[in-house]
Symmetry: C2
Subunit: 147 residues, 2 copies
Amino acid sequence: MRRSLSILCAVAVAASGLSSAAHADDKDVIKYRQHIMTALNEQTAALGLILSGGIPDDNFAAHLNAIALTASTALKAFEPKVPGGESRPEVWKDWADFTARMNDFAQKTAQAAKDANAGKKDEVFTTLIDALDCKGCHDVYRDESKK
Amino acid sequence: MRRSLSILCAVAVAASGLSSAAHADDKDVIKYRQHIMTALNEQTAALGLILSGGIPDDNFAAHLNAIALTASTALKAFEPKVPGGESRPEVWKDWADFTARMNDFAQKTAQAAKDANAGKKDEVFTTLIDALDCKGCHDVYRDESKK
């Protein structure tokens, strides 16, 4: 799917920082998963501001749906065994566990989004506690000192 | 919708940087729109890496759907007239134009997502050129020097 990047906005192209340097593919793999994890973090932070009461809840369900969609893309981004960024080597060493956790994350955020779409507010909060346990995975698979 | 932030992952809470400082509400309003615009940028960058050919296209439609969903939340985030961040005062001075552009952005990304979901690849690329003209708006309404 090679197309001219000129069709995408300058900001995004700059952010992706494409270059023809050596190991461009490995760099792209790392950047790709970083974009996905950062998007997740930004959406969760937006949701957090709503939950804290600082922002009206009009977008509550939309944020959850965006989180669920993004969660569904995350595992694929780690499939190429390319160490680097903030990923610990354990991602690929304990691939079965990592996969199970990522699939669980995708399923639980999908359920929370479904509950939000159906207006089931109480169910959403119960599911969210479980779905957005980012720390549980980050403690094992992420090395923030590499940021 | 005030709930304990303890239910959300530590990363997101840190990113939202909630505090009880003076003007916390205005700060939250600015942070909220920044989270949304950054999420958009990250998703577009991920899409850009697929379009450049560096990453397989498995997540192509999912990224577009996430972009469309996020675009649908963006205008609401600018409704409170709270200058600051990278937003130029023109956002609120020329609100009718800003609104029209944001609604256009939401509609066009929704169409691109719809085309991607239907597997209409050629249509998607045509729509994308138009939908992701981020620069057109940023030149008028964003001041990157305030980053």
